[in-house]
């Protein structure tokens, strides 16, 4: 009987230590990548509170790419729909443009908004974009993984941030896994978890945050355009 149990435990252990099943992608592209003055990539982790009925708010991952006079912008995650209800999907420009500038620079309190802007390599940008594209497909095909999209958004932010660290440590991580040591998941409702996760990442990576002044001219221009029109629908003043 004991031998049988030992063999079962051994079988479990062997299998549980199998290499990670997903994302066994080569890091060669990242190792060979050369930074360029003409093309820059940014990943922005953005969120705020006090928007939805239970005091949580939009939380999403934003991507920014500047190449010459071209700018690619987009964000995906939880945001407020036209009626102010939580929605999951492509974030409207009016909502993510709030985070083109540092919320602190616009005079918003630290407790109600968080924004961590990281400059990343081309391969890192592509990997995060691939994560967001997968979620875009899941939304389009109604193939979300959970009945409550708050959990899907947790997976999205976890996958996006972990992709940054796949080949080298781009940011000091926080283990968001609902494990025993994960205080954020332990003490917050699902819709609020990504915000608290971003806030923790910001605290751990404040030195890596790219300030407004350090942003490339084209993206600064996009920022200025966004600021110039504060009455745009959904621009949502941060309290």
């Amino acid at each position: 009987m004991q031998t049988k149990m030992f063999l079962r435990a051994l079988a479990l252990l062997t299998c549980l230590h199998a290499p990670a099943l997903f994302g066994a992608e080569s890091c060669e592209a990242e190792a060979n990548w050369k930074a360029s003055d003409t093309e820059r990539h940014f990943v922005v982790l953005a969120g705020r509170t006090g928007v939805f009925y239970e005091r949580s708010g939009p939380t999403f991952v934003m991507l920014m790419r500047e190449a010459g006079d071209e700018v690619d912008l987009g964000a995906f995650g939880v945001h407020a729909d036209a009626n102010g209800h939580p929605a999951f999907g492509a974030v409207p420009a009016s909502e993510y443009e709030v985070f083109l500038s540092d919320p602190a620079a616009l005079g918003h309190t630290k407790s109600s908004a968080v924004m961590l802007r990281l400059e990343v390599s081309g391969p890192q940008y592509e990997r995060v974009l691939r994560v967001l594209r997968t979620w875009e497909r899941r939304v389009a095909e109604r193939a979300l993984l959970y009945p409550d999209f708050a959990l899907d958004n947790i997976l999205l932010v976890k996958q996006a941030t972990e992709e940054l660290n796949r080949c080298r440590q781009a940011l000091v991580p926080y283990e968001l896994d609902w494990g025993l040591d994960d205080a954020i998941s332990e003490h917050n409702i699902a819709l609020r978890i990504p915000f608290e996760y971003f806030r923790e990442l910001k605290a751990r990576n404040v030195a890596r945050h790219v300030s407004d002044a350090a942003m490339p001219a084209q993206l600064r221009m996009a920022t200025l355009t966004a600021q110039r029109d504060p009455q745009a629908p959904g621009t949502g003043k941060i309290k």
Binding site: V71, G89, R138, L144, L155
Partner: protein, 217 residues
């Protein structure tokens, strides 16, 4: 400055909380898969609709849990041989679709003596496999759900005709696994139930005559 939006936000690709459109469209996804014989199938329409099925997840190069689970399933298949392929089916879905093509699955099945009637090994697109894995085996717990190995140690038994879902660990005894499969059996007719009850009463009577009390419960 040319500005390009990476994602297009329309009502078609946004889910709003509290609407049915947000959840998975189907309880059992009807994704396109390929069998170990390289036959294209639709998971729900071709394999599950109206049937009683036993489903597990595995991958061909898993040296720990998967062979143990497959071996238990072979035992279960032997015990239920008359039903297999007629009103009961087994499906083993790979967790590593990028590595396990139909040929690799066929080799795995052959190696474990699992090329049996009513039992298919399935592979497909990684996106669809993840959708299927979460629909059938998710625990609504990020840590467990992100560990595919956690899903390899489970059997999902579904009887679609009566919409009954049962779950059992394949590492339980064969008797326990068989019992769980029977819980998803189609309802018996009154005549069949009376016959079963009479047989059980006879058995109890024999035990009581032999030991003075009912020994086996």
């Amino acid at each position: 400055m040319k500005r390009r939006e990476l994602f297009v936000g329309t009502s078609g690709n946004t889910c709003v909380q509290g609407t049915r459109a947000c959840g998975t469209a189907d309880l059992i996804p009807n994704v396109a898969l390929r069998t170990h014989d390289d036959v294209p199938v639709r998971f729900y329409d071709d394999l599950v609709k109206g049937r009683q099925v036993v489903i597990n997840m595995m991958y061909a190069n898993c040296e720990g849990l998967c062979p143990a689970v497959t071996s238990r399933m072979v035992e279960v298949h032997r015990a239920l041989a008359p039903r297999m392929g007629r009103d009961l089916f087994m499906y083993s879905i790979t967790l590593k679709p990028n590595e396990d093509d139909p040929a690799a699955l066929r080799a795995f099945a052959d190696m474990h003596g699992a090329l049996l009637p009513g039992w298919k090994f399935l592979t497909g697109d990684a996106f669809d496999i993840d959708t299927l894995r979460f629909a059938l085996f998710r625990h609504n717990h990020i840590k467990f759900d992100l560990d595919p190995n956690f899903h390899a140690g489970q059997l999902r038994i579904i009887n679609d005709s009566i919409n009954r879902w049962v779950h059992v660990t394949p590492l339980a005894s064969k008797a326990t696994v068989l019992q769980h499969i029977s819980w998803a059996d189609p309802p018996k007719s009154m005549e069949q139930r009376m016959q079963d009850n009479r047989a059980l009463q006879d058995e109890i009577g024999r035990e009581v005559a032999k030991y003075g009390y009912r020994k086996v419960i």
